[in-house]
């Protein structure tokens, strides 16, 4: 069953067509990569899915329902979470607090319960803490839960962003270049983590990546964008063999590195 169906999505900035008539279907439980050269419109496409931009044309169905007219926070509450290409943590909050903020849509204590700090509030907060720490353990950050996010090393910050997204108990997680700036070791760890998101937590994953080794290793399907247009789609072998992809993307810079 399709968890996400984006049909004929177009987004135009001024004279620039950043995303051009792109259709993408994500099956529940899959790991899908979106690749393409710089400026191809990948991040813009994510921003449309999450509701930050309204598409000029096209429809997004999430879990069977159209997201048009919903605010980004409402879409997030439906279970679509993301990470950002340029890490956007809450820098002056602790690691644990970052994860707790991710749980926002699952916490409902009314203000008077908070003021009275009654049993039901303490119960909810306690559960939230336990769940957050579970997720921090999942990404390997529980030991650092009391550190400020801004003091974490780069790789940890990326993992914290994933933990924060997981805290919302998402059906779908969108990862925008999750290994950008990581060294080879960290990239291997991140690859494993992404696989575990799906295998252990059952979260459907869509990722934008430039690291071909990672993309080929974990994605079941790959979509290639170039100048806003989807030029190819299929599994790793299909993409590797596609001449347009080789020309647009693998041909440059990655010619000697076909995974």
């Amino acid at each position: 069953m399709a968890l996400l169906e984006a049909t004929n999505i177009t987004k135009i900035f001024g004279g620039l067509t950043a995303v051009n008539d792109v259709t993408l279907t994500i099956e529940k439980g899959s790991i899908v990569s979106v690749i393409g050269p710089n400026g191809a419109g990948k991040t813009t496409f994510f921003n449309i899915l999450t509701g930050i931009y309204k598409p000029d044309k096209g429809v997004v169905l999430f879990d069977g329902a159209p997201t048009a007219g919903l605010r980004p926070d409402q879409i997030a509450a439906l279970g679509m979470r993301r990470t950002f290409q340029n890490i956007r943590l809450f820098h002056n909050m602790t690691v644990l607090e970052n994860a707790l903020v991710g749980m926002h849509t699952h916490l409902h204590a009314p203000i008077w319960n908070i003021i009275l700090r009654n049993r039901s509030l303490r119960l909810e907060e306690g559960k939230a803490r336990d769940r957050s720490r579970e997720l921090l353990r999942f990404v390997g950050l529980d030991e650092k839960r009391d550190e400020l996010a801004k003091n974490l090393p780069y790789g940890d910050q990326r993992r914290l962003e994933i933990a924060r997204a997981l805290a919302g108990d998402p059906k779908l997680i969108l990862l925008d270049e999750p290994t950008a700036g990581m060294n080879p070791n960290e990239t291997v760890e991140a690859t494993n983590l992404i696989r575990r998101l799906r295998d252990e937590l059952g979260v459907t994953v869509v990722l934008i990546e430039h690291d071909m080794r990672l993309v080929m290793a974990i994605s079941e399907r790959i979509s290639v964008l170039d100048y806003g247009t989807k030029i190819a789609e299929g599994d790793g072998a299909v993409i590797r063999a596609n001449p347009r992809v080789i020309e647009a993307y693998l041909g440059k810079g990655a010619a000697g590195n076909p995974a």
């Binding site: 956007r88 002056n92 003021i115």
Partner: protein, 448 residues
């Protein structure tokens, strides 16, 4: 935009001092002696002069010392009750001036904590905060005096017993005005937000000046006088207690102590509410918005709702305090609620430590002391030096330079400690929270 300089966290010198005396019995001895000496000095020498000023300031800083020193919570509470619950009010019967300063400091501490919700927690710069204070103050002033008859012909003032209901009403109306301000500024950030809120504050003040015609609601620039005080239902027991210590109190003294305690209770309630909010889903959402709106939305935080809630919660404290202030002051007029007052409250928040509740309270106490006590005293000393023939030009009237001195201090502060005296440190707070949980667990275990 992360700050480039890493925060050192806490106040270095203070932590060192606390480190020296704060562990083991050292902290207990230190605090006991500190409390004893300052209390005795105040009670034995209650005259208004420079010496008492200094002792009084040390006495107020004692509260900070009690808060920061590592001693048992029970001991802290005991000392707090002794100092604020007994020494201060008794001293107040000996010298009405200082307890009034303390009451004012409490009023401003509440206002600063309320503004801190908006500016410190949610990161929304509000330069018109005093408007909500004005709304609360005018609410009680109009309805508790014959002014109400000028507004609604035939209406008579509300019985003074309604005062407590009006505190709640002030809370509500303040919150509603907070939302009214919040709605138009939701899309604005930074400078634009500051300018519109500043305008809002001025609009309320100008309304207060001009709403004396065609219908006389606020009595215009003349202000409203003879504002009603609440009935003193503790009057007789209070009198009895003090007379057993050999003090006969008149009505005004009683009211001073009454308002002192009322403000103290409000401050304590405010601390409780604000710190609980801070460590809840709501407070975390506010901080997330302050840190990064886009990332906050991506976590499913509804921006509009949370911002409006911050404006409403912050404003409601000012609304409630406005009612108490009007009743304590007996007279209000529009200049009480001008832009400088808003900026003054903002200064307390920033000077003390944006976002940090103890810091904000400290900021409020220090600025109030500076304003009401330290600067006038310096001016007075300079003036007497002038009279004694010191070579200070006679055209130089120090009282005129109060604001200048104040400004200079602020500039120095911002150069040397821009994050405030007690900056926010969320790590420390996490530790405290665990303490609190341990205490709670222990209490629950005991109850079982």
């Amino acid at each position: 935009m992360a700050k480039s300089t890493p925060q050192t966290g806490g106040t270095g010198a203070w932590d060192q001092l606390v480190g020296l005396i704060g562990r083991g019995p050292g902290g207990y001895v230190f605090l006991s002696i500190y409390t004893l000496v300052t209390s005795l000095l105040l009670l034995l020498n209650p005259r208004t002069n420079l010496f008492t000023d200094i002792v009084f300031i040390l006495f107020l800083l004692l509260i900070l010392a009690i808060y920061r020193t590592k001693v048992h919570v029970g001991f802290k509470i005991a000392l707090g009750v002794i100092t604020l619950g007994f020494v201060m009010p008794y001293f107040g019967t000996l010298n009405p001036y200082y307890i009034d300063v303390a009451t004012q400091a409490g009023i401003f501490a509440t206002l600063a904590m309320g503004l801190n919700v908006v500016v410190g927690f949610a990161g929304l710069l509000d330069l018109g905060y005093v408007a909500f204070y004005a709304v609360g103050a005018y609410l009680w002033s109009i309805f508790s005096t014959p002014q109400v008859g000028l507004m609604i012909s035939g209406a008579t003032p509300i019985p003074s017993g309604w005062f407590y209901g009006f505190i709640l009403l002030g809370l509500t109306v303040g919150g509603v005005f907070g939302v009214l301000l919040g709605l138009p500024v939701l899309r604005l950030r930074g400078d634009y937000l500051a300018i519109v809120t500043l305008g809002f504050g001025e609009v309320i003040r100008v309304l207060a000046v001009n709403l004396d015609k065609p219908l006389n609601i606020t009595n215009g620039a003349q202000g409203i006088k003879d504002i009603e005080r609440p009935p003193l239902f503790f009057a007789d027991p209070l009198r009895a207690i003090f007379s057993s210590f050999g003090r006969q109190l008149d009505n005004n003294q009683l009211y001073q102590i009454f308002f002192y305690f009322m403000v103290l209770v409000v401050v304590l309630i405010t601390i409780l509410i604000v710190s609980r909010l801070k460590n809840s889903r709501i407070g975390r959402a506010w901080t997330a918005i302050r840190e990064d709106e886009t990332a906050a939305i991506a976590q499913g935080i509804p921006l509009v709702r949370m911002k409006l809630m911050a404006f409403a919660v912050g404003a409601s404290f000012a609304g409630a305090m406005g009612v108490i202030f009007a009743s304590k002051q007996l007279f209000i007029n529009p200049p009480t609620f001008d832009l400088l007052r808003s900026i003054g409250i903002l200064t307390m928040v920033i000077l003390g430590g944006l976002g940090n509740i103890p810091g904000v309270i400290l900021g409020a106490v220090l600025v109030t002391l500076l304003d009401l006590q330290i600067l006038p005293r310096i001016a007075e000393i300079l003036r007497s030096a002038q009279k004694a023939g010191w070579p200070i030009p006679s055209a130089f009237d120090p009282t005129q330079y109060q604001r200048l001195l104040f400004g200079l201090l602020m500039i120095l502060m911002m150069i040397f400690r821009p994050e405030g005296i007690l900056p926010e440190d969320r790590r420390r707070q996490e530790l405290h929270e665990e303490d609190e949980e341990i205490v709670e667990d222990a209490a629950e275990a005991e109850a079982a």
